[in-house]
């Protein structure tokens, strides 16, 4: 019997701990498929964040490192400088990448570190039970913004791709979503490009993936996808914010 | 000579740290134990600068010299700060162009050398420090003349080796002062 569908080799045969309806699973799969297609699992080193994907080191079959909260790009920098011929990626959430690790994110980007960053933005701190994230929308209710995010006191959400696209070290900054099949296909193309860029030595590549958190948003998985389309996409428009064909390295 | 502890003090930019380095290297050329410890921090930026130099036959304990056997002072502040700390029987060499004071201590040997004026007169601008080092060499014998010459060759950067000759002239001028 012909096999028409199977788990990517780069994805471990382990049950994920993610909540029902969470899109981390899809994003993990896309990263693993890309590793398979590029044949790079054996030379890839992944760096996990602190957040919901903290245990992703068990889910990928490539070598993995668990970093401290926000420090994944610094750890990835250390690995890449030691092993320039290997492929190094980070997989980070919004709190990790855009709050506690902002400095590491911005400076690895502006150095043009030749690494790949997968940034999962679900506008909330999931693992700790649903607190305000740097990407929580104005008015959005969370455990620590019980009256909705008041921009007068809690400030405005960070648009990461827009911000990083101003930096000369960034080769690719693209925002995608995984709410529909066409969007998933597009997301995979972007992730593949972000890895290919690294193989080609083009410099810092980041793919921001808009993701859902049905559990902490208090919605069903289907409602969550609709909420993402209705609320997140207007504030975080999908698209390519920066794509330097010739790369940023001289 | 079992050992000698020295302090070199003045303004940043007078070559105080360099003078100390030449002195320490001179000891090294004679295979003595030596140490050179600079003051550091904001005070280096145009303010006072000083360094401690030890030359000894024995391993050096504290490299920080609080009571020097020999002192070079190139400004009033340094003179005021260190002249009282020189050990009885010690030597002080003072740039009298810049310091218009004389100590009333009679238990130390104080020498007043108008080094900055001499440097100008002898076309040795910027080498007042080395003139004073020459005087210190004569009065303490911290090393041999040959060792000082070798030390200067080491301390003057390769691209500035043409400055070696004026440096040696400065040493000699100091010894004769």
């Amino acid at each position: 019997m012909a096999v028409v569908f199977e788990k990517p080799h780069a994805l471990a045969d382990i049950t994920f701990h993610y909540c029902p309806g969470c899109t981390h699973g899809i994003i993990h799969r896309l990263v693993a498929e890309v590793m398979d297609e590029l044949g790079i699992e054996g030379k890839t080193v992944g760096v996990c964040p602190v957040g919901c994907s903290v245990m992703a080191y068990d889910y990928f079959n490539c070598d993995m490192i668990e970093a401290a909260h926000g420090r994944a790009p610094a750890v990835a920098t250390g690995v890449k400088r030691a092993l320039p011929d290997n492929v190094v990626f980070t997989y980070q959430g919004d709190g990790d990448l855009a709050a506690i690790g902002t400095a590491e994110t911005v400076h690895s980007a502006t150095r043009g570190e030749n690494i790949t960053v997968i940034f999962v933005n679900n506008a909330i701190y999931g693992m700790t039970g649903g607190q305000m994230a740097p990407t929580t929308l104005p008015g959005q209710v969370t455990q620590t913004t019980p009256y909705g995010r008041d921009t007068n006191t809690a400030g405005y959400p960070v648009r990461v791709c827009e911000m990083l696209s101003t930096l000369s070290g960034v080769a690719l900054a693209q925002r995608v979503a995984v709410d529909t099949v066409p969007h998933i296909n597009e997301a995979k193309k972007a992730i593949k490009k972000a890895f290919q860029n690294q193989l080609d030595g083009k410099g810092f590549s980041i793919v921001e993936v808009l993701s859902t958190c049905p559990t902490n948003w208090g919605l069903t998985p289907v409602e969550a996808l609709q909420w993402l389309r209705d609320n997140m996409m207007p504030y975080y428009p999908l698209g390519v914010y920066k794509d330097v064909e010739e790369g940023v390295k001289k | 000579m079992a050992g000698i502890n020295m302090v070199f003090a003045g303004f940043g930019g007078q070559g105080i740290l360099f003078t100390g380095k030449v002195c320490a290297y001179s000891g090294l050329m004679e295979e003595k134990e030596v140490s050179w410890l600079p003051s550091y921090g904001p005070e280096m930026r145009g303010g006072t600068a000083n360094c401690s130099v030890c030359i000894s036959d024995e391993p050096i304990g504290s490299p920080l010299v609080l009571t020097p056997d020999a002192l070079i002072a190139m400004n009033i502040q340094s003179y005021d700060k260190f002249i009282g700390a020189v050990v009885p029987g010690g030597v002080a060499v003072v740039d009298s162009t810049l310091v218009d004071k004389k100590t009333d201590r009679d238990d130390i040997k104080a020498f007043y050398v108008p080094a900055t004026q001499m440097a100008n007169d002898l076309q040795l601008q910027g080498l007042a420090n080395i003139i004073l080092l020459g005087k210190l060499l004569k009065e303490t014998g911290f090393a041999s003349m040959e060792a000082v010459e070798k030390a200067l060759a080491k301390c003057v950067p390769p691209r500035k080796q043409h400055l070696l000759e004026p440096n040696m002239r400065a040493i000699k001028a100091g010894m004769e002062a």
């Binding site: 760096v47 668990e66 420090r71 250390g78 | 600079p38």
Partner: protein, 347 residues
């Protein structure tokens, strides 16, 4: 050569090709030196955006299996504590240099030894240790850099070199002996499995308490080996000493001068100089209890190592303390005064 530069050159010769740092006085010459030479030997010198990033870059490079180093001074080390904890918790080797200055807070920039507790008790959160070395001369800094890398690799733990502003800034003659770089197999490194082994994971997260306890106990069994095998100390005139001084680093040099002066005055003084602060040379102290009538600990702090001296002496002899802090280096005369005072009391 300046102490800081000697540290840099020694690291290169010990096979370190990856340095990550952030500028802070009084350790800057180390970074400056390596920024000059690393590119010439194909190594990495990276000025990080923060102390935190620098230590995490070290974590990454160490995970990749290479010898990595960072250096800082007291306030910067506080920022690195997070990373040091993760490095210890992930069983990674690396070398961290602390050229101590006065604290707390921004403190000052003059030499100090007030980070002893931090280095030996809590270089980060959790149950952990770093091997802590305390050189006292520029030459010893060089020798210790080699040892620090070797021992870090051997025991898979961070090594810390606890220097101070005086040792970092001073110049002394130094020789670089020809030494072979110890190559240690690192089968645990995350450097790509190449399809030849299971994937490696470098991690400090263990959510099951039993699993975490087992992991910590395994690490402490290794720490026990370090305690058994890696203690270093130098003794000076202790055989017949009535008063034994205990001091490390810069203050040990001042103490040595004071011991010499005391001997000239007919007081039998000696010096124990711990070269490793963790593990602490408690056996040397205990052995000295047999002849010594009293101990005097001298530090550039309000009294930190004196705790370890008291623990080792365990009440058998009086333990006195003399220290200056805030960046003030005690003078040999001050220490001699203390020796004379104690000597008067114990006769």
């Amino acid at each position: 050569m300046k102490g800081n530069e000697a540290l840099g050159e020694a690291a290169l010769r010990a096979g370190c090709r990856h340095f990550f740092g952030y500028p802070i006085t009084p350790q800057t010459e180390l970074s400056a030196y390596l920024s000059k030479v690393m590119p010439k030997v194909g190594g990495t010198f990276l000025q990080a955006e923060s102390e935190i990033a620098a230590i995490n870059m070290v974590l990454g490079a160490a995970s990749a299996g290479v010898r990595a180093m960072t250096s800082s001074s007291s306030p910067g080390i506080s920022l690195k504590c997070e990373g040091i904890s993760y490095i210890a918790g992930s069983d990674l080797p690396c070398v961290i240099v602390n050229v101590q200055r006065g604290g707390p807070g921004l403190g000052g920039i003059q030499p100090s030894q007030a980070d002893y507790w931090q280095a030996t008790r809590a270089p980060g959160h959790g149950d952990l240790h770093a091997i802590v070395f305390a050189p006292s001369t520029v030459q010893e800094m060089v020798d210790i850099v080699f040892r620090a890398f070797d021992k870090a690799d051997e025991y898979r733990m961070p090594s810390m070199i606890l220097a101070d502003g005086m040792l970092g800034q001073m110049m002394e003659p130094v020789e670089f002996p020809e030494r072979e770089v110890h190559k240690v197999e690192k089968p645990w490194a995350t450097n790509g499995h190449k399809g030849e082994r299971k994937h490696n994971i470098v991690n400090s997260l263990f959510l099951q308490p039993q699993q975490l306890e087992d992991k910590v106990k395994e690490r402490f069994a290794r720490y026990d080996l370090v305690k058994q095998n890696e203690v270093l100390a130098e003794e000076y005139l202790t055989e017949d000493a009535d008063i034994v001084l205990v001091a490390y680093g810069a203050s040990s040099r001042i103490s040595r001068s004071a011991v010499n002066s005391a001997r000239e005055k007919g007081i039998k003084a000696g010096l124990i100089r711990p070269i490793t602060l963790w593990p602490f040379p408690e056996k040397n102290i205990q052995a000295a209890c047999k002849t010594a009538k009293a101990f005097l600990t001298v530090e550039m702090s309000m009294g930190q190592m004196v705790d370890d001296v008291r623990l080792a002496v365990n009440g058998a002899r009086p333990v006195y303390f003399y220290g200056r802090t805030g960046g003030i280096i005690p003078s040999p005369a001050e220490v001699l005064g203390q020796i004379e005072e104690i000597s008067g009391g114990v006769k």
